[in-house]
């Protein structure tokens, strides 16, 4: 399978090749990640978007090999971090990669903090383990880190417990922990989903500033197109365990090629609809809908998983999974009809729901 960045000049920091992570449950094999390829370079922000359950978190957890086994297992694929494949690594070797090589910010800030340790102790612990710092040095560094992520009064905060902090502060602590050992890559799994807009803006700014300052590669996982538009350099769109489209952020929003991406952008209130004046009491203009819903993992259709909801689906779509193909520049799309439907220059319209 082709990765749109494989030809690009500098070797990617992280390259995922054809990753398959499946869960073997009594109800059947859940193919949560089913052939995903991604690449991130230094100093780049890659956004991974997709709906709930499309495999974003499982992809991230696979990179750090944090998939619960059983029931989960990486059944196929390579995860190259600085050229080294992580899949065959032992737990011990992985522990070094986590933290020092790759930092992770989890979806739930509270679950990644230990409620019985002060935040200072938690940050210091990673420093002592990975950087072999003395306890005192580690504590000093912890204060610096909290200062770096913009917590006020960091020397007091190190002594506080997670529950004494607000949601936004906790997320800053989690970020401080993730960057404590100067990782080259930071994976942020929905870093702001649980937060308010004003705090979300603070955290996103912080992440981008960290990228600028430390030159890390950054993967931001989200389902919010607004977050993507505001932060990403490049975007990968996932649907039902596969990457269906990838492009630079401007290009993706201006010329989405996959019918799912097109639908997603047009279904977003501020993506398609002009917010002009309206007569009070009148209905707002219709949003373009994507009919139906995501198929459950254990009842995936053959061929293109989006075919049942796709306005352009033809027989061939249901016959085989469409391969990811380059569509000019760094744009790649997994849709056999994207050439035709896109060639009209007219973005296909009105996927009106019939239901």
């Amino acid at each position: 399978m082709l990765s749109p960045t494989s030809a690009a000049a500098p070797a990617p920091l992280l390259e995922i090749r054809d990753l398959h992570t499946h869960f073997f449950t009594p109800r059947g094999v859940m193919k949560a990640v089913n052939g995903v390829s991604l690449a991130v370079r230094r100093g780049e922000i890659l956004a991974v978007v997709g709906e709930s359950g499309c495999g974003k978190s499982v992809t991230a957890m696979s990179v750090l090999k944090l998939i619960a086994t059983p029931p989960g297992r990486i059944v196929k694929g390579e995860i190259l971090f600085e050229g080294r494949d992580l899949v065959p690594l032992t737990d011990r070797a992985m522990q070094e990669v986590r933290g020092e090589g790759i930092g992770m910010i989890f979806q739930e800030p509270m679950t990644s903090l230990n409620p019985v340790l002060t935040v200072g102790e938690q940050i210091a612990e990673t420093l002592i383990r990975h950087k072999r710092l003395s306890r005192r040095e580690a504590r000093e560094k912890a204060v610096d880190l909290l200062d770096l992520v913009g917590l006020s009064d960091p020397s007091r905060r190190v002594g506080q417990y997670p529950h004494e902090l607000s949601g936004g502060m906790r997320q800053r602590v989690v970020i401080a922990m993730a960057i404590a050992c100067d990782p080259k890559l930071l994976i942020a799994d929905e870093p702001t989903t649980a937060l308010d807009v004003t705090v979300q803006a603070q955290i996103l700014d912080l992440l981008m500033e960290m990228r600028d300052r430390l030159g890390m590669g950054l993967v931001i996982i989200t389902h919010d197109l607004g977050v993507v538009a505001e932060t990403a350099d490049r975007v990968a769109v996932m649907y039902a365990g596969r990457k269906v489209e990838e492009a630079g952020v401007q290009e993706l929003f201006a010329q989405p090629r996959h019918p799912y991406t097109q639908g997603l952008i047009r279904a977003t209130p501020d993506g398609g609809i002009a917010a002009g004046p309206r007569i009070a009491g009148r209905r707002p203009p219709r949003l373009t809908e994507i009919p139906g819903m995501v198929p459950p993992l254990d009842r995936m259709p053959d061929g293109c998983a989006f075919a049942p909801r796709c306005p352009h689906a033809i027989e061939a779509c249901r016959a085989a999974v469409p391969p990811l193909e380059r569509a000019g520049g760094t744009h790649a799309v997994a849709c056999i009809r994207s050439g035709e439907t896109f060639a009209h220059k007219r973005v296909p319209h009105a996927v009106e729901a019939h239901a």
Binding site: V149, G150, S152, D196, V197, M208, P284, L287, V294
Partner: protein, 356 residues
């Protein structure tokens, strides 16, 4: 009289356990016109749901009044309230928690009719079938249980239930927040269709500004239990008058990379606890343009121009908000006006890491 819902100085306090009081809703007044969509935006915990549920009389108000079609509904005896409930219905946030898992969809839709003694069995069944059709669900859905449906479908069921009694007003408490992006549009369109067909008025609660911008006729911005600004949708986006509204609009991400803005000053910190709200203006602890008066005097919602109401002492000063210059200067660490001692933030080293 054009308003179907009139809320006057509504207050809802909860006991906080340790003898203190949660000021969840603190003197809110609103009016909702026939067929109008008024959105209520604000951050988590500012009291949006509490306001909705207090209007619904699901919480007994601490004080204040709620009038539906000109009739006062607070402090009514239960029986009298029961019939008045028909006009006022609610769609809940969580499509998984808002349906009884043990009751079939048909039964859930029939219940309002049974409770309100409407129609004989056969008519009720017909109405259920009609409701299902209206919200775009198959007729055989009536015999199935909620767990057999997806989130979007359940939200349709919730909407059908709210519709069953032919209400005038529906309070929608974050009806699409729990839904996936691709399903959201379906529900928003459905709500708009129903509004058009039945002349419904919505009180639309949301924290998602892009959704609010899309659905609303007017928007009320709430902060820590109070309304700080109410305006027509286009006025609010064109000329936000309250510094909090401005911060909120600035912070909301826009799903259009070509409109990506230079990183701008952010509001620091988070919403204070409603058990101990700041004196005077509740926003003053985070406000970039606060003055000493803000700590002493509660700003009241005042009409700035043509139904654009704002509660800010400085909203009417000439030049306060022009181009946001003052606000930005203040955030950058050079307050234009001396601020009360406690509220002075240490000068932020960088805008992005505005301190908490």
């Amino acid at each position: 009289m054009t308003n179907v819902l009139l809320v006057n100085d509504l207050v809802k306090h909860f006991p906080a356990g340790d003898g203190r009081v949660v000021h969840a809703v603190d003197g809110v007044s609103l009016e909702l016109d026939r067929g109008e969509t008024l959105s209520l935006v604000g951050e988590s915990g500012c009291g949006k749901s509490t306001l909705g549920k207090t209007i619904m009389q699901l919480h007994a108000p601490t004080s204040g009044s709620v009038m539906v079609e000109g009739r006062e509904i607070t402090r009514l005896p239960k029986r009298a309230l029961r019939t008045l409930r028909r006009d006022l219905q609610m769609v809940f946030q969580d499509p998984f928690a808002s349906l009884n898992p043990r009751v079939t969809v048909g039964r859930a839709l029939e219940e309002p009719l049974i409770v309100q003694n409407q129609g004989a069995r056969k008519e009720r069944r017909e109405r259920v079938a009609w409701l299902l059709e209206k919200v775009g669900l198959p007729a055989d859905a009536a015999g199935r249980h909620p767990h057999e449906f997806s989130g979007g479908q359940r939200q349709r069921i919730g909407i059908a239930r709210a519709l069953a009694l032919n209400p005038k007003v529906i309070i929608c408490d974050e009806p699409v927040s729990a839904l996936d992006v691709s399903v959201r549009a379906q529900v928003l369109n459905l709500l708009a269709d129903l509004k058009e067909e039945f002349g419904l008025a919505y009180l639309f609660i949301s924290h998602d500004l892009s959704v609010v911008e899309y659905v609303s006729d007017r928007v009320a911005v709430m902060y820590l239990g109070r309304i700080v600004e109410v305006a027509r949708r286009e006025d609010l986006w064109a000329r936000p008058l309250h510094p909090y509204t401005r911060a909120l609009l600035d912070a909301a991400p826009v799903a259009d990379p070509s409109r990506r803005r230079a990183r701008r000053p952010r509001l620091a910190g988070e919403v204070p606890s409603p058990t101990n709200p700041p004196s005077g203006c509740r926003f003053r602890t985070r406000c970039p343009i606060a003055i000493p008066r803000c700590a002493e005097e509660v700003p009241h919602l005042t009409d700035a121009r043509d139904r654009h109401m704002v509660a800010c002492h400085r909203a009417f000063e000439a030049g306060t908000f022009e181009g946001g210059a003052l606000a930005e200067r203040a955030l950058a660490g050079a307050p234009a006006t001396p601020r009360p001692g406690g509220a002075v933030a240490s000068s932020p080293r960088s805008i992005a890491t505005a301190r908490l």
